[in-house]
Symmetry: D2
């Protein structure tokens, strides 16, 4: 009989509640053991809804011998301490990206976790979406030959509140980091990053010196080129789509439709667009948590690790530097 | 040097003007010699616009030795006499469908033209549309194996005036006839027709005992089944699309987009639909006239002949009979 | 705190295992209490995989006071007795379609269950698919005005074994029944059914007097027309798609893509098609079981009941009769 | 009566033959007067095919009083002299892009033509494609609000022969120039260009120091960002597609399908892709020549002029410089 991995979920913001719901009801190999949040009302509400214990006390979570793993979805600034604390308590750890807002903390976290020997998976959910997995699998199997051009869009419908932006680590660490991980995953290591940004949609964003629209040009180790476009204010909806053009084939991953029906009125055919990442990824978040649980249960390595998070973080900070200096920034991929 | 075939165009209603314009400016192998219409103002206006002579006198057209061919786009009731007159004058003939509103006149026209030896092409334009030609070519080449199921839609956005309907020959002869020709062309001979109709959109249509929505079930000689759906009031636009499902492959022909761009607004992606047959068939009408001219010039047989028109007419009257009797109507394909 | 409804799953064939998996891991409001199958190895295997008790003894299931509901996914011939047995034991019942292979047994089952007062939901999963729910919701909200034309396809990639067909209740009761329920749900009651069938794909199907391709024309009470096309041998994949054309709008529900990416090779763009109902309906089966559990928990009426199953069964037998007699068969919708 | 504009076509390579065919048979307002080419066999062959006089002597063309306009489709190096010669002979001029391979010759040509007062249209055909015209019209009408992001692809299926590349003026002047004109047309003036290139597909291209894949980042005067991706070796086909994301709406122009039908085989749906610009633009080339003829006949200004060609040329050379230096290159738009 296969035993479900008991996972504690820490941090009950939007992502945390998504993960909690998935752990409670959509992961074959996982079981939600307990939910924790600094706010007791939030913790109690989610605990009641999902019919699991709740707490505000992390020591209780880390000290619970029946808890095998911890999923961290708290604000970024707390990630590093929580991850290290959980790992030192012998819990396997899933952590939302980014691990930290600076490189030393990121490195320290990755290194500390490594010494404990627990599993460590980072929340780049696209790596677990069935569409991306299928297309990337074909690239890695050689069906595309050499990739020549990588192109991806990640766009939000509307900007978040300016207060959120102030603590987000900046545009590239907050938004582009997902695309940088995807680029590395699909095509390979990146050796140069050049960024361009503009604040167009919201004067408040411009006022805090931030941007809402960006282009990031990538040069891969192989010589292939790549471009990422990001927006916090796409207006029409949430978009995440990718193209990789290669020697033998080209692939395009897209799923803009919220529901799979058209509605035709005089002279026009219309379909509804995804409005946020939950619309866009109906399966990926549950898959990523299920995959984490299976790694724990079967003692296998996660597909996306702390080192991947570090690499994406380094590329995001290179993108930030390029944007600030107007120069291409070389990057040296770490060899593991 | 290749000489252009000089074609006279008779009948300057909507279809006639489309053909005149194509003959004047979009057919490599044809030249518009003269336009004729019973209404001198209409004839003069089109003649001036297209910079060709005009007349109201058909004897003048039929007696003109420089005219090699005549394209007939007058009201249906006049087709038969005009076709016969032109053929007897030694002119090759293109005629809009249907040839006549009754079987004896249709047969007489086909037979008479045959004895004159001139080329005779009927206006089933779908046979000349590049998309249909390509897909049907693959079926005929055997890429599909045996066809199992044929399905086609032909729908107008809005009903024509009731006065037009009164003289149209009835729903099946006016509308479905195109689909019946397409079915024979793509899949083969038909041995049974069953029809169902309803008047839903316009009380005036119901008042004259006509219908605006119909389904026609076909049984092909091969055993394959087919279904045609027709509407005079689709509302969203003009549609003509077909599917053939077969043993080895299935094909779907469609082109609903009027222009190839999407327009995305918050939560919705929209594209513009075809509103009429001119939107839907940007190339087929010119192609059909060009093909006719090439048959004349190169002395080859048209792809769609008077016998095809007769066969489609017989199927349309069988559909009408089935609708009126509520029974399946057997049809015996004529062997040529 | 919301308590999960404890559901016993009886019958561990393909559909039964799908339901068991969903009850075990993808329904917020349900919990898989026990699995039962006549074959102890099958029952034991699924019980082990899903970490739930198993049994071969239905009395044990019906006598278990902690079991609130039973989901029946056994072979059709056993449905009626099982449903009645469960209902008499005070269990709420979910049953796969059809309830029985003859009308008296269907009526008796529906009536008996009604007297017990338990919830009774039948497995027309399309009613729970998010795409269908969304489009149908807009029709019911009046956004379409009067429906004029209903069109739907249900096609399997390959025929099942002939042995299965022999006990399936016939083509229309086995396949078309789903479309008949969809037609009633989306457009309204049906008053006439005309069917056409052909055995084209497999000589063995012809040999047992069955068909593999069918067209069913519907006349709705409102005067609207409808057409269903069904195939057991579509070849390219599994298809379930629907169009409803109406006075103010037209809708098309489709989701042919198995994964949402294209693969482009020289001169061609290709995407993968759904191969079976599991590909096509990634969410509907879990949704239907979740909805059932919520009806039990919240004491609300299921969206699709025994009477709906009876109505679809009557329409399917009318379709069968029409096919056998070559005549349109009138149907009198039962008023509840 | 409207008189057709008599146009002489000079240069009978691939583009010249396309223009000649359109002038001969697909432009309502133009008439092909004569074709000219340095190669008498080529000139004679096209003249015979299109049934028009031919010559190898440009003085004859320029001295022919019945010729009102000249269309220049010769190799780029000869454009400037031919345009100036035609203009000085009082002929209106259409010229393929680019006008010349260096800025002084481009400026001199534009200035000289301006002094003669003849119409001067340059061959940016996308400005005449119905899809682009429709979408751009909506942007210019304000339906999009402020554009935020421009993105376009222009990709050839296979690289041309290396000998052609050597005389092409370089990647950006040969390929990207079309996209730069499109960017200016759709979004507005550009103030900074940054380019990235790579030679990936063909060692011969690398050997001559050229590239086959490029990314060009644009900064518009408005602050909007843009990115162009170009490839000489897309492999799957010819692509030209554009997106403009804006404040109120986003538009995507695309037409990858060569024919509008799908072909479904087990597990896969496939459609044919455009293989070259003729597939992609079935109407734009005829439209651009028709528009030129109407400008001549109606004495109106062309939509795309010598100054537009100069602006695109300047941007292309800026892109070339950016690629060579690795720096963003500022551009000062000329005010007219």
């Amino acid at each position: 009989m296969r035993t479900k991995v008991r996972v504690a979920l820490v941090g009950l913001g939007r992502m945390g509640r998504i993960h909690a719901g998935n752990l409670a009801a959509r992961c074959r190999s996982a079981e939600l053991a307990v939910v924790a949040d600094a706010d007791p009302r939030q913790a109690a509400a989610v605990g009641a809804e999902l019919e699991v214990p709740w707490t505000t006390d992390l020591d209780e979570v880390f000290g619970d011998d029946t808890v095998q793993a911890v999923a961290v979805a708290t604000p970024t600034a707390t990630h590093s301490d929580l991850v290290i604390g959980a790992a030192r308590a012998g819990k396997h750890v899933f952590c939302e990206k980014p691990i930290a807002l600076d490189r030393p903390a990121t490195v320290r976290t990755v290194e500390t976790v490594r010494t404990t020997g627990v599993k460590f998976q980072v929340g780049f959910h696209r790596r677990y979406d069935p569409d991306w997995v299928a297309a990337t699998g074909r690239i890695h199997a050689g069906e595309m030959g050499e990739p020549y051009l990588f192109r991806t869009s990640l766009r939000d419908m509307k900007p978040p509140p300016v207060e959120f932006l102030a603590g987000s680590g900046g545009f590239f660490v907050d938004v582009t980091i997902h695309d940088l991980d995807t680029a590395r995953w699909m095509v390979g290591e990146i050796v140069e990053v050049s960024s361009y940004g503009s604040a167009l949609a919201d004067p408040a964003i411009r006022a805090i010196g931030d941007i809402d629209t960006a282009l990031v040009v990538l040069r891969f180790e192989s010589g292939a080129l790549g471009v990422i476009d990001n927006s916090r204010a796409a207006g029409y909806g949430y978009e995440c789509s990718t193209e990789v053009m290669g020697e033998l084939a080209t692939t395009r991953i897209d799923r803009p439709q919220r529901r799979h029906y058209e509605w035709l009125t005089p002279g026009a055919s219309t379909y509804g667009l995804n409005r946020d990442f939950e619309d866009r990824y109906p399966l990926a978040y549950a898959e990523e948590m299920e995959a984490f649980a299976r790694c724990v249960r079967d003692d296998t390595a996660p597909a996306v690790t702390g080192l991947d998070a570090l690499a994406a973080f380094d590329l995001a900070t290179a993108a930030d530097l390029s944007w600030r200096t107007g120069r291409a920034v070389p990057v040296v991929p770490e060899r593991r």
